[in-house]
């Protein structure tokens, strides 16, 4: 009870005491549930192209071809941390079990705060995509609401990664390209577990609130050669699985 600390022994400071009490009460009222000793670690996803943060609709030139990305979205979830000193995984429910819709158009959605963490060096793990067991449980809320554009109605399942745009390299109508990648199981699954190792990357939770930037280098795979070969991939299959693999491999963490 922080209030007690403010109660002064000298009764002559009545007004000051009351003012402090009021302030304390109000403070307690608003931050009553927060645990003072917890820090927040924020994971900030940063889609990049040609080494810089992605600009939607920006004409990127590669090998004489223009690529404009109009949309980048992905579903991530199941954030886990392993405390290296203790050699144990921080319980998943202490980190974040929910799914998040990361959308380049919505800056807020790029940052995912994880709270309730202890200090230490850790490995960070998360999943790109949605566990098949969950999609079999019926309709979900929040990021997994199937009306949010990350769902295949014609073949029940979540789209994990969605990238759309136009390119001079595309032979499709209006030079469009689009990659809707998904598939939670089977030989062509696009579900990927990402593990970013603390000892290499010096991921460290200090007593400060901290942001870890996770770079998604789209230019590692979204290049004119791909767009020429397959301007649109919108179903589970070998081509989509190959891109999802490249996407997973392109993820890196910037040193703090």
């Amino acid at each position: 009870m922080p209030i007690q600390n403010y109660l002064l022994p000298d009764h002559s400071h009545r007004f000051l005491r009351l003012a402090l009490l009021w302030a304390g009460m109000i403070l307690m009222g608003f931050v009553g549930n927060a645990k003072a000793q917890d820090q927040t670690l924020s994971i900030q996803f940063r889609p990049t192209y040609q080494g810089k943060p992605l600009l939607l609709q920006h004409p990127y030139i590669i090998d004489g071809d223009t690529i404009r990305i109009s949309q980048f979205r992905m579903l991530v979830g199941n954030f886990r941390l392993w405390d290296q000193q203790a050699g144990q995984q921080v319980a998943a429910n202490q980190v974040d079990q929910s799914y998040h819709l990361v959308d380049a158009e919505d800056t807020q959605s790029l940052t995912i705060p994880l709270s309730g963490l202890k200090q230490g060096i850790f490995d960070l793990g998360f999943t790109i995509g949605v566990d098949s067991a969950l999609s079999k449980q019926g309709v979900q809320s929040g990021a997994l609401d199937p009306t949010k554009g990350m769902f295949w109605a014609w073949n029940t399942g979540y789209i994990f990664i969605k990238v759309e745009g136009t390119s001079s390299a595309s032979t499709a109508r209006k030079h469009l390209f689009g990659y809707h990648l998904g598939g939670a199981e089977g030989p062509h699954k696009a579900l990927h577990q990402i593990l970013l190792r603390g000892h290499q990357n010096q991921l460290r939770q200090t007593n400060q609130n901290q942001t870890i930037t996770v770079d998604l280098a789209l230019d590692k795979w979204l290049i004119p050669t791909l767009i020429k070969q397959s301007p649109t991939i919108m179903e589970v299959g070998p081509k989509g699985a190959a891109i999802a693999r490249q996407f997973a491999n392109s993820i890196s963490v910037e040193l703090p």
């Binding site: 009764h11 009545r14 005491r17 009351l18 009490l21 009021w22 009460m25 109000i26 307690m28 009222g29 608003f30 009553g32 999609s135 079999k136 449980q137 019926g138 309709v139 979900q140 809320s141 609401d145 199937p146 009306t147 949010k148 554009g149 769902f151 109605a153 014609w154 073949n155 029940t156 299959g237």
Partner: protein, 351 residues
């Protein structure tokens, strides 16, 4: 001194009370009565429903909301069609007389709109089994360009603008928030209530007084059990599986059925085995509505089988049904009509 102490504690108490109230007020849900549970009654002798009611417990309010959605044309892009346009309650929620159903601007779809009944026992939905959970089913007709062709965020925005929906969503889910999840759960709450289990067949099974099969129906039943029941398994009259039943592919439609979903050759020309309940109310028949009568259907099984690699082995030589046996079999199929279901006031368009 004592006075000041008392004053201090009174003020403190007020402070605490105010702060606590202030805290609570922001969390007080809208005062709505709790929705009334509306559990599904499993007919005697039926298997356990596949729908997980604990994830979406059916209530009277949810059923009413789902029904209003089912009959509301604002779910289509140009507000011209509702789900009920192709799923009429009086014909067991099928689209009678339409081989292929038409969507907005009279666009013709690829397949025949199926009957809706006993969906709580369904495992896969659509003729190709594209949908593996009832909750997701409504997304298809709403979003499909040849059906209602609507953008889902647009549909939700329309619903949010209507006070009626704000009230109904609050009554069902506790607050006025209208999300895709809630819309789809409401649909399921309506759809799982469409239980058809009071055909003559059912009454005979239950040995109700004064109900009995005729000799022709009895013979039809015996033939059915021999030749049809392995796929159209009683009491649901479907095994919830997929089969190639020897229909020659329509060169214009180029519909390969389940292979379109699984991309497996073994699933070429496989279509979902439909229920035969209320079959007399739901012509035309087959995924493309090619047969207009049950006698045509039985002629197909007896003499019209098209051979192809994925053909169901039991149909390789056609079903050995004489013309008279076919007539008896039709007589049995007519006993699967549940008039009470088709004319159930609860399922009719809301007033």
């Amino acid at each position: 001194m004592i006075k000041s102490k008392v004053g201090f504690w009174i003020l403190s108490l007020i402070a605490i009370t105010c702060t606590q109230m202030g805290m609570q007020l922001s969390h007080v849900p809208r005062l709505v009565t709790k929705p009334k549970p509306m559990p599904i009654v499993v007919p005697q002798g039926w298997p356990k429903p596949t729908y997980r009611f604990r994830d979406n417990p059916p209530t009277e309010e949810g059923f009413a909301l789902g029904k209003v959605l089912f009959y509301d044309p604002i779910l289509s892009r140009d507000s011209s069609l509702s789900c009920a346009s192709c799923h009429l309650s009086y014909t067991a929620f099928a689209h009678t007389d339409h081989a292929l159903s038409h969507g907005i601007e009279s666009r013709i779809g690829l397949r025949n709109a199926p009957t809706l009944a006993n969906l709580a026992w369904g495992q896969r939905f659509m003729w190709d089994g594209a949908v593996h959970h009832l909750d997701f089913q409504a997304l298809n007709p709403i979003a499909h360009p040849d059906e209602m062709d609507a953008a889902l965020p647009q549909v939700l925005a329309r619903l949010r603008r209507q006070p009626q929906y704000q009230t109904r969503f609050a009554q069902t889910f506790g607050d006025t928030s209208i999300t895709g999840e809630r819309m789809l759960k409401a649909f399921s709450q309506f759809l799982v209530q469409l239980v058809s289990a009071n055909a003559k067949y059912d009454q005979v099974q239950r040995q109700e007084p004064g109900v009995a099969f005729t000799a022709q129906e009895l013979n039809g039943q015996a033939l059915f059990m021999t030749h049809c029941n392995s796929c159209h398994t009683a009491p649901l009259f479907t095994n919830n599986g997929f089969a190639n039943n020897g229909l020659k592919p329509d060169p214009e439609l180029k519909d390969w059925g389940r292979m379109g979903i699984t991309r497996k050759k073994a699933d070429s020309l496989m279509f979902k085995v439909p229920t035969l309940r209320n079959i007399a109310l739901t012509p035309p028949y087959m995924h493309d509505g090619r047969f207009t009568s049950l006698s045509q259907v039985l002629k197909h099984y007896a003499k019209g089988i098209h051979q192809s690699p994925t053909l169901d082995p039991k149909l390789r030589n056609g079903l050995p049904l004489s013309p008279n046996e076919q007539i008896d079999l039709v007589a049995f199929l007519l006993t699967l009509t549940d008039h009470q279901f088709a004319f159930d006031k609860r399922f009719e368009a809301p007033q």
